[in-house]
């Protein structure tokens, strides 16, 4: 079991595995996103309350899901790198951060775009939007800390500690913000999470969510590969791989 993990966690195997997976992930992401967007923007029925503008949930909701998911991935792989000193886990954590931050920003921007027709303003201190904003701060803190530390291994471990502290805090922050929101805005006009969603509206959402997840894997593996190229450039296997490819 251990030797299996260590074999696949070695930079060489990870690099070759990523090379094989990336095209598959890229194409299936593209297909899912095209199908999901077509279904969501054209096929799905119009909402009787919100009209057409509800359709932004097909981007907003999966992006918000991903923003949480990626932070969890970062904390988990950071912890693995910290405890078992697996280099690839560190690479996964640090490659995920900018992608997670981008999804969080996307969730914020789409939330604000949705807010204009719904609430009449670009920004409302709604619980979900506020939580996303704080999550964005956590991502930016992670990225800033990583870029401030020169030594790569130290940076990875320091960021892992930060991500773990963040993970303990996220539920607390989330709960606090929810609670704060119910106090100050008891009657928000409409909320994103509708109690019951028609199946015809739900299916495109799930397709989009899967598409976003695959896109994350695709982008993350691309970034990890670049990191491996950088850090392993002096190893023999990398030199053989590069010169071999040229022949």
């Amino acid at each position: 079991m251990w030797s299996f993990i260590h074999k696949h966690a070695s930079p060489k195997h990870f690099y070759l595995l990523a090379e094989r997976l990336i095209p598959w992930l890229g194409w299936s992401t593209l297909i899912l996103l095209v199908v999901g967007l077509y279904q969501g923007l054209i096929v799905a029925p119009t909402d009787y309350q919100q009209g057409e503008s509800y359709r932004i949930i097909y981007v907003h909701v999966p992006a918000a899901w991903m923003s949480m998911f990626i932070y969890m991935v970062m904390a988990t792989s950071g912890a693995i790198g910290l405890v078992w000193k697996i280099k690839m886990a560190d690479a996964v954590a640090s490659s995920s951060a900018p992608i997670g931050a981008a999804f969080t920003l996307l969730a914020l921007v789409t939330g604000s775009l949705w807010g204009k027709p719904m609430w009449g303003t670009w920004w409302v201190w709604d619980a979900r939007l506020t939580s996303e904003l704080i999550l964005l701060f956590l991502y930016l803190g992670f990225i800033a800390l990583e870029s401030a530390i020169e030594d790569r291994r130290t940076a990875a471990n320091a960021c892992a500690v930060l991500a773990l502290v963040g993970v303990v805090n996220i539920p607390i922050i989330h709960y606090s913000v929810e609670w704060w929101n119910t106090l100050h805005q008891g009657a928000t006009v409409t909320r994103f999470d509708k109690p019951a969603m028609a199946t015809s509206m739900l299916i495109p959402l799930l397709i989009m969510a899967l598409g976003f997840k695959l896109y994350y894997l695709y982008a993350m593996l691309l970034r990890v590969r670049v990191k491996i190229l950088e850090s392993e450039k002096d190893t023999t296997w990398m030199k053989e791989l590069i010169t071999g490819a040229k022949k």
């Binding site: 500690v161 930060l162 303990v168 913000v177």
Partner: protein, 227 residues
């Protein structure tokens, strides 16, 4: 091997940091002055109107307390890092988390406690009603230790960096949000004459969580930063 050296090590560390702080008094005075000045900026910036200041008072005082703590955090580890004492601490066979806890407690006594003592006066200057005074003191007493504890993790992560100051606030301020929300809300609720038991329990829970986890996280972060 010596006996009872655990509590001895903890109290020695606490006493050492308190002595150091007392000998460089600006460490105590500066954050306190900062706290007072920030609070007194608000009536100037917003309006001296009584009803407005009264509603804003809990938030103003707590935001100022947050910033004042932030400003003083660096002193937990910075000078020890520069003169090699931090290395010596990490090389001590005593549990690092315990020594760290001693240092954090000293930091709170030096920077948190004075804030609590001066807060009622600031409350009066912002027309905070008498009923809310207990809430102000109780939330500060429960909340400021959490700020020191959580902040110490951030300092430990940035202590080796040349320009860690701004980065520290970026790392730590988002983590302070739950304390800010519950504490300032408790004060406002108390001012309205409603019981604030729930908020105080929540702050106490945060304190319990922070006091158990933060020293360990800080110790781990210090080991990483000093490599």
């Amino acid at each position: 091997m010596k006996n009872a050296s655990l509590s001895n090590a903890f109290f020695t560390m606490l006493k050492r940091d308190l002595t150091l702080a007392l000998r460089t008094r600006s460490e105590i005075a500066n954050p306190l002055l900062f706290f007072i000045i920030v609070v007194s900026l608000f009536p100037l910036a917003v309006s001296p109107e009584e009803s407005l200041l009264r509603t804003m008072a809990p938030g103003i005082i707590w935001v100022a307390a947050l910033l004042a703590t932030m400003l003083s955090l660096d002193s937990i580890f910075r000078s020890d890092f520069e003169d090699g004492s931090l290395e010596q601490m990490l090389l001590s066979p005593q549990p690092i988390a315990l020594l760290v806890l001693g240092k954090i407690m000293a930091h709170w006594l030096v920077s948190g406690l004075p804030l609590i003592l001066i807060a009622p006066i600031l409350g009066i200057s912002l027309f905070l009603p008498g009923e809310a005074m207990f809430a102000l003191l109780a939330t500060l007493a429960l909340g400021t230790p959490v700020l020191s504890l959580v902040g110490s993790i951030g300092v430990a992560l940035t202590v080796g960096l040349r320009r860690g100051g701004v980065l520290l606030s970026l790392l730590v301020l988002p983590l302070y949000i739950p304390v800010l929300i519950f504490a300032s809300n408790a004060i406002a609720t108390a001012a309205a004459g409603i019981s604030i038991k729930g908020q105080l329990y929540f702050l106490a829970a945060l304190f319990a969580l922070a006091v158990t986890l933060a020293p360990m996280a800080t110790a781990a972060a210090l080991r990483i930063s000093l490599r």
